[in-house]
Structure formats: C-alpha cells, structure tokens
Amino acid sequence: MRTASLWVPDFPLQALRRSTPELAEAPLAVAAGPLPRDLIVCVAAEAAELGVRAGMTAAQARQVAPATLVRVTPEAAAAAADEALADVAGGFSPRVRRHTPGEVLLDAGGLVPRFGSEQAIAHELLRACRRVGLEARVGIAAGVGVARTAARSGELVVVRAGEEQAFMAPLPLVLLKPPPDLAAMLARWGLATAGELARLPRREVALRLGPGGVALHRLACGEETVAFVPDPRREVLREGVELDFPLGVLEPFLFLTSGILSRLEQRLELRGEGFSEVLLELHLEGGGHRECRLKLVAPTREVPAVLALARLQLEASPPGTPVEGVAALVTPGRVRLAQGSLFGPAMPAPGKLSTALARLAALVGPDRVGAPAVPDTHRPGAWGVLPFAPAPSQGASPPAASPEPQAFTSPVLRAFRPPRQAQVVAVGGRPVVARVDGTGGMVVGWAGPYRFVGDWWGDESCAREDFDVATEDGSLLRVYFDRLERRWFADGIYD
C-alpha cells in the first residue's frame, strides 16, 4: 500500500514556536523539563550558532550562551501541533494515523489522479504543513517503515514501487531507528548501512537478534514491517497557549485568542469544515478554571465573528481573575454548500450566509436569530426559533400556488411579550370597555370567546377566554381573561 509519512524534525521546538510566534527569531533551546539538570532536546539554529547543543543540561546551555532562551514545550502546544499535522493529512486522505508526536502517516493510494503525481502530492503536503505553521518532511513509499525512513532521509523523497531495497541500501542504519542494544550489537558486527544488514541471511539474524532483528532486517530489505491501521476521525479540535504572565485586560486576551482561533481556522479549512461550537477554557490565576461556550448559529470559518461572540460573553460575565492560559476546543461543523437552481430565484451564498448569521448573533445575541417556528401546541401565543437554513428553491412556483393578491387570509397579530395587563369591563361575559397602556376604549365590535384549557398536567397550566375586540379609537386588540389568575390581559394588537 502506498503510504506517505509526514515528519516534523525538532518537533518540540516547532510546536513551541507555533504556539508562541514571538519566539520565531529567538535563540531557543527546548529542554525536557523545567529543572536545570534536564537535558536539552532541541536547539534552534540561532542558539546552535552560540554553541548550544542537544544533550547538554539546561544549566550548561545557559552557561555556554547566557543569551539562550531555555523553554519547555507545553503539552497543550505539542498536542495542538500534532493535531494540526493530523488535520493536514486528513485534508488529503480519510485514512490517517498519528504514529508518534510529530509524525503522521496517511494512505496515499488513489491520490495520484487528483494531484498528477506522487511528487505533486508531497509538494502539496509540505505546502499545507507550512500553512499550519510546521516545517515538515515527506516520504512516500510502499509500506510504513520505508515511508518513515524516506521522510527522515530528505525533505521530499518518493520511493518508486519496486525500488525500496535499492533505496534503503545506502542509508545509514541509524535512520532505521534500531533499539539501542540492537544498534550496539550491529555496530560491533561492523555494519553501518541498511544494505550491509540486508545482505545477511534472515534466518541467522533471527537466531542471533530475535524478533527485533528480523523486523529491522525486513525494513532494510524494503519490506512491509508494520500494518497501517488508520485512527478514528477526531470530532473536537483543540488549540491552546499557556502564558508567562497572567492577563487581566480583555483586549490583549482577545488578541491572544484571535491567534488561537486563526490556527484553528486553518485546520478547519483543511477539513472543509467551520466553527460550529467553540469552548474557551480559561485557566485562571490561583488554579481556578472557567469555561466560555460560544454557539454559532451556523458553521463558519470567520474568526472575527467568533471573536465578537467571545467579546460579548466575556464582557457580560468577566472571569474576575487574571488568565494564565487559554485553550479553545472546537466542534467542527460542515459549512453548508448548496447548488442553486438555474431557474429558481437567487439564494444567499451558503458561506456568506453562515458568516452573516454568526455576525448577527454577535450583534443581537444567538437566541435572537433564526427562523420563526410554531411549536406543536394549541397554547395561544406559543412561538419558537429554529436554525435558519432555507432549502434551495427548485424553480419558480406555479402561479396557482401564489396567494390571492387581493386579500390576506388572516389579520396579523403584533404580539406583546410578555402579555400586558389590560383594563377590561365585561358585562354578561362580553367585554364593553378594553384599554391597554392608554390604547382602546369603548368596545364597538368583538368576537369570541375562544376558550382554551390545557397543560393542566404540567407546571404551566392554562385556562383562558380570548376575545378579539375593536375599540372606538380604531384599535383591534386581542384580550383574554385568565381564569386561573382571574385577571384580564392583552396578547397583542392586530395590524
């Protein structure tokens, strides 16, 4: 099976720089831990010029070059970079496997018709990695082991089918990543390249080195060593950052969050999806924790719209304590795509509509945007809001379906929310005077009562008698007598 390996060299360093872009030019050395005796695992070129090397302790690095910044890659940053790499692979193939931190495998079979050649696939993979802030290497070959080795042997290496053994032969054994004891044994035998190992009889290798030796021999021969098992698709994307200094002001916090959301937006674009829901996890000073859930009316990739929602929510209920770190967990949603009808009326472009809905939600509140709905109840005045997602029109409706232009089928009620208390004088069960907030007067016409009794099985039981009344000043009111409260209310005014 044709397999592509995406490998990020110096992954802890790249993950740290990706989450903290201001360290891009700094002489940086990444340590395994926060203590002075912890070893340096990755060194940036700027720090290497100062004499710092991987394998030194953090204290030694600082001694050699005091200008060196020694940092530890936060787990969240490493995880986010790893997920970003998986998203890149997921943009090319649905069969993706996260092999080790900073290394992802994908099934490259069947991609050639789309990209033209395996070289082109590799180029596109590298370009996509750069878009998410990672400098990777790509190896494409038959089998996981050869593809991984190819990725480590150069920036872009494609091993053609049938040439695996010839490709592996000149490579140094260290690229095959043998376990330390095995590597020591092979060194004592005087073997330096994969080709030298491949020339040994496999039976003899098995007798002396065991199963580990056989696996290494198979790899040296360019044979499949590990079965490719794709990971299940992840449903939540995560990006985060830990701060050196706590933030207590909203604007810098939003600036920080916009960077996180931009990185997520790039990943979502690779998946062809958008923000459907964003959960902002705020790590507060003193160990506190706060969550801020942002629900988008429709999936969008518009970062300013999501930021506007975050601003609204945080302004309404600020955390009250400075923030030491923030993580954004995104539930992706498919950005709506629809083919418009050639003969039907123009429809809003789905992408633009999603963005506009998100902006409208940020402007007026997410619960105040949608399509009106009539709930399945007989209770008067019941209403609801559904997500606005109009289906594309299939064409112009036949004229017979058009409403009669001469008339409405019913008067339109302008609702009072909540119902207003009304002053109604009733004689013999008929309203003779009706007033609401200075409107109304003597009743000159009426219809009703329309009686309703319901929901007695729940907490919101209802028993009312509704009347439509016309008053002397020309107002048309809907009033009702609440039999439970023994009072009159107005539901609205007809217009």
């Binding site: 007026v364 058009s402 219809a447």
Partner: protein
C-alpha cells in the same frame, strides 16, 4: 433676476437628465406587495433597490401589507429577512397568512441602530429579496428613532438596499427614512371586517380595511387606496386554539 444666456443649454441638460431619471425609475423592476390595489398605486409594486416605508398607527394594516409582501416572496421560493426591533412578530398568525416560515430569517435587534446594522449585514449577503425593518410604534422618541445618527443610518440603509437590489420595507408609526425612501405609504385606521355566523353575529376577525395614500413614489403623489379590504379570511385562524 436676469438669467444669463449661457444657462439655457444647462437648463435643457438638466431637464433631459431629469427625464432620463424618471424613465429609469419607471423601468425599475417591481415586486408585488401582495395587495392588488396597492400594486396599482405603486405602478406594479415595491421598486427593487429602494427603501419603501409603511407608516401608520397600530391596527392600520401596516404589518399586514408587509406580511402579504413576504408571503408572496416566500411562495415564489425567495428568502426574506424580518428585522423585528419591536419584538412583535407572531409566528402563528404569520404562518396562517401563508408565509413559509423556513424562508424567513427572523432577527430581533434591540433598537433602531441594531436593526439598521443588522439590515446592512443581511443585505451584504445578497439573495434576500425583501428585508423588513419593523420599528413598531416605539420610534416616536428621539432615541428610538436613531438619535443623532439617524441621518447616517438612513443613508447607509438606502445605499445597502440599492447595492443589493432588494426591497426594504420600514414599518413605523411615522415616516422614518424621509427623503431617501423610494416609496412612502401612509396608512390610517380604515376599519375592521368581521366574519359572521349563520345568525349574523360576528364570529371571528376576518380582516382589516386599508386606508392608505402614497406620499412619495408611486404613479401619482397623494394617490389613495379606496378602502382596500385586508381580508377577509375564510376561517378564523384561531379555531384550533378554541376548546
């Protein structure tokens, strides 16, 4: 006053430009209001790319005309937006008129400024043929009418509508858009029509009689609708709720 001789060609040019403008406006595509008599007065309906105003008190049929326009648009398969600054839309009664609710984007802004901004956002998307801004009766106060920034709001709205080629309808107690409106229809309380039972007693509210005149736009300034019935309905729409 002495008119310089050189100004005569200028005046002639002005007259020709004016005639061209009138021809262009008359050729402008129209969208039916859903009320035949009103369409006649408007020269075929609401002009596309213009702001239309429906001004009048409650119970004058102002909302009914707007809903009729929306119903006609949704039946054609178009999508519309209802920016409900008055928070007064009743989905049940709107659905009873024949509006396809799935094609209505309902936004409930808190005030005129938010509504105008929301209208701009909706119009930027494109594809909405009708955008209704319902200011209700609460715009009589200076703050409610948009305060000091009202002029800028009106101008931005008019430009956004022109760009989108849509019809924007502003519902208010008194004209709000002013000179920037393409059409201003002022409604009065024309009366009510009751549905009667076999015994001649009123049984349900069947419709509102429109009393409207066109203040701006239309085929003839000041033309009046001769008491158009905004009804009748065949059935009381709340029959299901009774009992």
């Amino acid at each position: 006053m002495i008119v310089p001789h050189a100004s005569a060609p200028a005046l002639e040019g002005l007259r020709e430009a004016s005639e061209r403008w009138v021809r262009r406006e008359r050729a402008r595509p129209r969208l039916t209001s859903g009320v035949a008599a009103l369409d006649t007065l408007l020269g075929g309906g609401w002009p596309q790319g213009k702001v239309g105003e429906l001004a009048g008190p409650d119970s004058s049929g102002r909302s009914g005309v707007a809903i009729a326009t929306v119903a006609a648009a949704t039946v054609r398969g178009e999508v519309v937006a209802w920016l409900d600054a008055a928070d007064a839309l009743d989905p049940a009664s709107v659905a009873a008129v024949g509006v396809d609710l799935r094609r209505v984007l309902w936004v409930r802004p808190r005030g005129v400024e938010e509504a105008a901004r929301a209208a701009e956002l909706v119009l930027e998307v494109g594809g909405f043929t009708v955008v209704v801004l319902d200011f209700g009766s609460g715009v009589s106060s200076a703050q409610g009418r948009g305060g000091r920034g009202r002029g800028a709001l009106r101008l931005r709205l008019a430009r956004a509508v022109e760009r989108a080629g849509a019809v924007a309808l502003v519902l208010a107690e008194r004209p709000w858009v002013g000179t920037l409106a393409g059409v201003t229809v002022v409604l009065g309380r024309g009366g009510v029509r009751w549905g009667e039972g076999a015994d001649g007693e009123p049984r349900w509210l069947a419709g509102i009689t429109l009393e409207a005149h066109v203040e701006r736009g239309g085929i003839e300034r000041g033309a009046r609708v001769p008491r158009v019935h905004a009804g009748p309905g065949d059935q009381p729409h709340r029959a299901a709720a009774a009992g």
